[in-house]
């Protein structure tokens, strides 16, 4: 099928089989490899992207279902050479080790802050629960999200 995907403000024409997930289209066809493939079953959250500013798991949906969506990946969060406040906070707070889950954590955190679910550490833990960290950096992730929320809402 010939489809158009709007990703990070740019329209891409591509031909895909219906069975291609949004995740695979981003990584394998558009070379946007910032979005990670962890479990490919919606359990780990490494593939989290924004569709029309809402966080979704890109492994659980088909590329052909997103012709009408504006997709944002980690590559599109900040202008070239810059960092989104959530990205800065993750670096400052050392909120990762291997980095495999980090793009998904960051995309989920951007949405979590936008949704207003950062009132307490417990609230952040609940609303970031769709993102697993194999290195168990959760303590620093929570602090990074708190930091970034303060900056974004300032």
């Amino acid at each position: 099928m010939d489809i158009t995907l709007k990703v990070n403000g740019t329209e891409h024409q591509l031909t895909v089989e219906p069975r291609v997930t949004l995740l695979d289209a981003l990584r394998e066809r558009l070379d946007l490899t910032g979005t990670k493939k962890g479990c490919d079953r919606g359990e780990c959250g490494a593939c989290t992207v924004l569709a029309d500013d809402r966080r979704i798991k890109s492994c659980l949906t088909l590329a052909v279902m997103h012709e009408d969506s504006a997709i944002t990946t980690v590559e599109g969060l900040a202008p070239e050479g810059g960092l989104h406040p959530v990205q800065s906070a993750f670096i400052r707070r050392d909120a990762f080790q291997c980095g495999g889950c980090t793009p998904g954590q960051i995309m989920s955190a951007v949405a979590c802050i936008e949704e207003g679910h950062t009132g307490s550490a417990d609230e952040i833990r609940e609303w970031m629960s769709g993102n697993l960290c194999r290195c168990a950096c959760y303590a620093n992730i929570v602090v990074a999200v708190q930091d970034a929320a303060q900056e974004v809402h300032r």
């Binding site: 099928m1 089989e17 219906p18 069975r19 997930t21 490919d40 079953r41 919606g42 959250g45 989290t48 569709a51 809402r54 966080r55 979704i56 798991k57 492994c59 659980l60 949906t61 088909l62 052909v64 279902m65 989920s108 949405a111 979590c112 949704e115 679910h117 833990r125 609940e126 609303w127 629960s129 769709g130």
Partner: protein, 327 residues
């Protein structure tokens, strides 16, 4: 995932016709369960009809009901003021389901049709009467800690996984469907079916019949309904035991009550016996205990899931005390 054809019709009539005319076609809405099943080979379709362009996403309150379009997402429904007012149990059940990302994706109709998380069902290397009728059920003598104690048969003991369905059953909701031949209204209590001798059949839908919405009647009892979910970790997990309760008190006497349960049964489980043990009686430790005993009287436990019979009674006790504000 095996290859399939894809179409995205814009009318309900076209969507149901396209599925009805091909035996192996299916609907896709959120896709959050279906695509996992197709990746795992537990389910195959040669054609998927994407229903997301159909006008079925609205939540509206009118004429004494809250009508939820089948394509409304879990998040919208959980946050919707009319749902929170008319049936807080539904909002709570949704917020205690899945993850924030999946709640942005998964549609209400699809939530009711999600398949069991029984590991044998999802592992195509295992026999499973639900996936391949007649092949056997390894759960009967195998890893059955997560499995059902009510509504079971010698063919299947898989738990129905939907929190939403349990909550809708507690507020007497109705499922609205459309097929090429007709529109139907199916009470929640008749929508899901226990496995019996045909565990591959889980609900009242025919092939090509689409859920178009769910209706919740607005009642005083539903407005005080609550959901309790117990699981093995704090969040993002299926229920070990869940209790949905709607309670109408007259002083300390139970005027009316609905009690439905998740995590313990092969379908969303209502217990008229437990309700009868409370209706017209004062809410005390003794009457709650009698209700819990009535609930599990017909339970069939296995090697690893016998604890559920005790746990669900304690969950019911704690939940009803919280709901009624009694010590």
């Amino acid at each position: 995932m095996r290859a399939f054809e894809y179409a995205r019709p814009t009318s309900v009539d076209d969507a149901v016709r396209l599925v009805a005319e091909r035996p192996d076609a299916g609907f896709i809405a959120g896709g959050t369960d279906l695509l996992n099943l197709m990746k795992d080979g537990a389910r195959a379709h040669d054609c998927l009809i994407d229903v997301n362009a159909l006008p079925l996403a609205d939540v509206v309150e009118r004429d004494g009901v809250v009508r939820i379009g089948a394509l409304a997402r879990m998040r919208e429904v959980a946050e919707h003021p009319a749902v929170r007012r008319a049936a807080p149990v539904v909002s709570e059940a949704l917020l205690n389901s899945a993850s924030p990302q999946v709640r942005n994706m998964a549609a209400i109709g699809g939530n009711l049709l999600q398949r069991t998380r029984c590991g044998y069902f999802r592992d195509v290397g295992s026999p499973c009467n639900k996936r391949v009728p007649g092949s056997g059920c390894p759960a009967l003598e195998g890893q059955n800690r997560a499995h059902a104690i009510l509504g079971v048969s010698d063919q299947c003991i898989a738990v129905h996984p939907s929190d939403l369905a349990v909550s809708l059953l507690a507020v007497d909701a109705t499922v609205l469907t459309q097929s090429p031949a007709r529109a139907r209204r199916i009470p929640m209590g008749e929508f899901h079916v226990a496995p019996g001798a045909t565990p591959d059949r889980e609900n009242a839908l025919g092939h090509g019949e689409l859920i178009v919405g769910v209706e919740i009647p607005i009642t005083p009892m539903a407005a005080t309904s609550r959901y309790l979910k117990l699981r093995d970790r704090a969040t993002f997990e299926f229920a070990v035991v869940a209790v949905a309760a709607a309670l109408e008190m007259n002083g300390n006497v139970v005027r009316d009550v609905r009690l439905t349960f998740g995590g313990i049964a092969t379908k969303p489980w209502r217990s008229p016996e437990a309700e009868a043990a409370l209706r017209g009686r004062p809410l005390t430790g003794a009457t709650i205990a009698a209700a819990g005993q009535a609930l599990v009287r017909g339970a069939v436990t296995r090697e690893h899931n016998a604890f559920k019979a005790d746990l669900v009674q304690r969950a019911l006790d704690g939940h009803l005390r919280d709901l009624a504000g009694v010590q």
